[in-house]
């Protein structure tokens, strides 16, 4: 087990967590269209209670994604979170709002009123996927940061007490991450994730809620979410395979621009390309069959698995095959690669063994999910459940 293998392995684990996170954004997607999907107060409650039983998975996956990134690629954690401060803070802010919204909204004593918390859920449902999608897009589009490890021991900074100068990673402009939203391609990808989340959310609700009105409305809304998603996704995919990418020399660590780098990556790593294609087909199948069949409610599964495969393939394309996964637009050589940003071999190896627990964790999640969802949510259950949201 070489150091390079461990780096690649941990990029796979982080990518898998990222892919699962994008799939689990169906919670946000469904919340973003709860009004049109639920229509009545009772309908909205059904949608909220449906996503309310899964929101913690999304939240936990986001936290674990962050923790795994910290453990395996601490320089990314240091650079992206410390640099793109506002981008991450807004993401966190909306997720905090979401976390309390389920439990609080319909409780007596909620002096802010249920609509406030429903607004928070909708806000998180749009801003969460948009900004997380935008953050993922920066893996291909680049970010405006500089890294200089010697800053920490710069004699001038130490003598003058200029403590901001001792920071290793710095953002090259004052916007601290919001500049990413000025890049139209970041927005294209961000909105693709918004509509993907909405598509998955509708498919999830159709599967999870036993209510004919919601299911029939869902089929109609599905088209309205899936079409913009597909347009935006295909546009970005075409852009991605044609654009120059950030290649790294594995021996010297020097980073250079390479024409059509990501297309080269997909062709070189053909199994990843296969995963991408299978993923896209599954997403299309899940959407298409739900649209044409009035009795097919399981579209979330092929579309969800397809989403995981597609996002996994994209993230692997961003980091594997000697690619700088977090490119710097301010200084090419500051770009982060798996080799220059990862943890030590000892830590990666230790965490490699820890990662063996993941299948066990997934097994009990699947089992509990199955038990809770064995009976679909309906109006009677909401009325009789004293813990219903």
């Amino acid at each position: 087990m070489t150091y390079t293998f461990l780096q690649q392995y941990w990029w796979f684990i982080v990518s898998l967590l990222g892919a699962l996170l994008v799939f689990l954004l169906f919670v946000q997607g469904a919340n973003s269209c709860m009004r049109s999907l639920g229509w009545t107060e009772e309908g909205k409650r059904l949608v909220i209670n449906s996503t309310g039983r899964k929101w913690e998975f999304t939240f936990t996956t986001l936290v674990t994604f962050g923790g795994a990134f910290f453990a395996s690629f601490p320089l990314f954690y240091s650079t992206s979170f410390g640099g793109a401060y506002w981008l991450w803070m807004i993401i966190l802010f909306t997720f905090v709002l979401q976390a309390v919204s389920y439990e609080f909204q319909n409780k007596i004593g909620n002096f802010l009123g249920p609509r406030t918390f429903q607004f928070f859920l909708t806000l998180n449902g749009i801003m969460g996927p948009l900004l997380l999608g935008g953050a993922v897009a920066t893996f291909f589009e680049g970010s405006n940061f500089l890294i200089e490890k010697n800053n920490m021991i710069d004699p001038e900074s130490l003598v003058n007490g200029q403590w901001s100068s001792v920071v290793i990673s710095s953002w090259a402009n004052a916007s601290h991450g919001l500049d990413a939203l000025l890049n139209p391609w970041v927005l294209v990808f961000g909105f693709a994730v918004v509509f993907l989340a909405r598509t998955l959310g509708i498919l999830y609700v159709i599967n999870n809620v036993n209510d004919e009105d919601i299911r029939s409305r869902g089929s109609v809304r599905l088209l309205g979410a899936a079409v913009p998603f597909l347009v935006l996704f295909v546009a970005y995919l075409v852009r991605l395979i044609l654009k120059d990418g950030y290649a790294v020399d594995p021996v010297t660590g020097v980073i250079v621009m390479e024409p059509m780098k990501y297309l080269n990556n997909l062709l070189t790593m053909w199994p990843v390309l296969l995963v991408l294609l299978v993923g896209v087909v599954l997403v299309l199948f899940g959407i298409g069959k739900t649209l044409v069949s009035k009795t097919y409610y399981s579209g979330i599964w092929p579309a969800g698995i397809g989403t995981v495969l597609t996002v996994l393939a994209l993230l692997l394309t961003a980091g594997w095959n000697n690619t700088a996964y977090y490119p710097s637009t301010a200084d090419l050589q500051s770009s982060l690669t798996l080799a220059n940003s990862c943890s030590s071999e000892f830590t990666l190896r230790t965490m490699f063994y820890v990662s063996f627990l993941v299948p066990f964790v997934l097994a009990y999640i699947v089992y509990c999910w199955y038990k809770i969802d064995a009976k679909k949510i309906d109006k009677a259950e909401i009325q009789n459940d004293d813990h219903a949201y």
Partner: protein, 544 residues
């Protein structure tokens, strides 16, 4: 002497500290209740599982409902804490991320998923899974929260006592060399035991306080009495356990963070046979003149108690602040260097590191690099001191440490007394219960009629007000413990390795000020909503 409030820097560093403190303090309002109630509702559901009585099911569900309202806020504030390591402490995240990131990742994989999966079964699975599976889910929710506490306290303990790592000059960071030294550090074990057990006190006080409110209102009396019984047992065990683990924690602090212990005690000059300060006048708003004063004014001490607390020996040596600043001889005869010497050696470490990196970049020969590495290794222990300009910077805030420690210990003793009395009142323990009632009657806290009865319902209302008043005090005690732990570590983010001002992110203070106030408004509003919902839910009762 310097005024503490006037000494706060309006720059990024202190605002980042304030933001982290704000988030941590709010987070800690919710976590101990989660840990404490998890245990209590687990016991209640076990009673239901064993007896199959509807009463226990309703009781367990009632406390689980209150648990759920509190749980959401703990989750919400927790996510901010994790990401703030990156957003506000960028240098820190690289400098020690190789070690610090691992416990956070393990926490996510092992604890958070367990919590989030089984809490959903606990809330929504009553009619969907078997009684046994549901009971297991309730306990696993609590276990997940406790495992989460373990890993985050491992991470925190490592910041107080960095072990299992080595500095790598090529990567400019500390790297883990022993996972087990980090994960099973004795400091982490002490911290975990003390923190989690003391959290059970809050769960117990909360349970008894809510139950006493019902007794005051003469309603839900069976639920209240049975809940008080469980709360009193858990509370007394926890309060005694917190005292025992607190003693062990203090010893750990004495060994690895002597400056923190000296600040907690306002001990300016140490020595052998040291007494524990019971009372002294330490101005809460001013850092005392520890260089020139011999001791804090109006000091009344418990003889030998500090030496015993810190070393398990009543004659043990405890260094004071000036001893640590000027250097001292340890009981084993070895010499602890002065802070000035540490600063010099720290500066030499930084300079050598800079030379080494420059030489390596320029392709210097192996012998030159080896010499520089050897010099660096000799001084690396004091690396963090190289960023210190004056020795007074390594003295933490004495008033906060001094008073927070006393509040925590004082209230801890009060809880032992309260739960012991409560236990003897609700359980009919031969001789002891009668003796307690007689004693309370003698001092006028019970009437003769009340003392003759073993029934705790129908007592005058002031009896029921006591735990309600104790509830905020339990939170104050718990937060005070964290104030000691974190203020006592200052100026270090990682003890002796990295001061706060080198750990920060490159941010404008205005950005941090805005997010600070955003979070302050958000958390305060949500806390107000939560308290209001909890109060209404309690008023509504289990028959909802």
């Amino acid at each position: 002497m310097q005024n503490i409030l006037l000494n706060i820097d309006a720059g990024t560093i202190d605002w980042s500290r304030a933001q982290f403190a704000l988030t941590a303090i709010y987070h800690w309002l919710f976590v101990p209740l989660t840990l404490g109630l998890a245990l209590i509702m687990g016991i209640m559901e076990t009673c239901y599982y064993r007896t199959k009585k509807r009463f226990w099911k309703d009781t367990a569900k009632f406390w689980q409902k209150l648990f759920g309202i509190n749980f959401a806020m703990g989750v919400a504030t927790g996510i901010i804490l994790e990401f703030e390591f990156g957003t506000n402490w960028s240098n820190y995240s690289w400098f020690v991320g190789d070690i610090f990131g691992a416990p956070l990742a393990v926490e996510g994989i092992l604890a958070f998923f367990m919590e989030s999966t089984f809490v959903a079964v606990m809330f929504f699975g009553w009619n969907k899974v078997s009684r046994g599976f549901h009971l297991a889910s309730t306990w696993l929710t609590g276990l997940g929260a406790t495992i989460s506490a373990w890993w985050i306290l491992v991470a925190n303990a490592w910041m107080q006592y960095p072990v299992g790592c080595e500095f790598n000059p090529d990567t400019m960071r500390n790297e883990m060399v022993s996972f087990f030294d980090v994960a099973l550090s004795p400091f982490a074990v002490d911290k975990f035991c003390h923190t989690v057990i003391s959290s059970w006190i809050i769960g117990a006080v909360f349970t008894v306080a809510v139950s006493c409110w019902y007794l005051m209102k003469r309603r839900e009396q069976k639920l209240a009495v049975e809940s008080i019984k469980i709360g009193a047992v858990v509370g007394l065990i926890a309060a005694l356990g917190a005292a025992a683990t607190g003693h062990k924690s203090a010893q750990s602090v004495g060994e690895v963070q002597p400056m923190k212990l000296a600040a907690m005690e306002a001990l300016y000059h140490g020595g052998t046979d040291q007494g524990l300060t019971a009372v002294a006048w330490v101005n809460p708003c001013e850092q005392p003149d520890f260089l020139n004063e011999s001791e804090a004014p109006l000091k009344i001490e418990i003889p030998y108690a500090l030496s015993f607390m810190a070393t398990n020996d009543i004659h043990g040596y405890v260094p004071g602040i000036n001893d640590i600043l000027n250097g001292y001889t340890r009981p084993d005869g070895t010499q602890e260097p002065s802070v000035d010497e540490k600063i010099e050696r720290g500066k030499q470490a930084i300079a050598t590191l800079a030379e080494y990196r420059k030489a390596k970049k320029e392709g210097a020969d192996e012998a030159t690099l080896a010499t520089q590495l050897s010099l660096l290794k000799d001084n690396m222990k004091y690396f963090g001191y190289g960023y210190i300009k004056d020795k007074s910077e390594v003295v933490p805030n004495i008033p906060i440490n001094f008073w927070a420690f006393r509040i925590m210990v004082g209230l801890g003793c009060l809880f032992i007394l309260y739960f012991a009395i409560m236990l003897l009142l609700v359980f009919d323990i031969p001789f002891l219960s009668v003796l307690t009632r007689r004693l309370l009657a003698t001092v006028g806290l019970l009437t003769e009629t009340e003392a003759d009865s073993s029934n705790i319902t129908g007592l005058p209302n002031w009896h029921y007000w006591v735990p309600i008043v104790l509830l905020p005090l339990a939170y104050i005690a718990s937060e005070s413990g964290w104030l000691v732990a974190e203020f006592g570590r200052q100026p270090w983010t990682i003890q002796d390795m990295l001061p706060t001002w080198v750990a920060v992110s490159d941010l404008q203070s205005s950005s941090v000020i805005i997010t600070f106030f955003l979070f302050l408004i958000l958390f305060t509003t949500m806390l107000a909503v939560e308290i209001n919902i909890l109060l209404k839910q309690i008023k509504k009762g289990p028959q909802s």
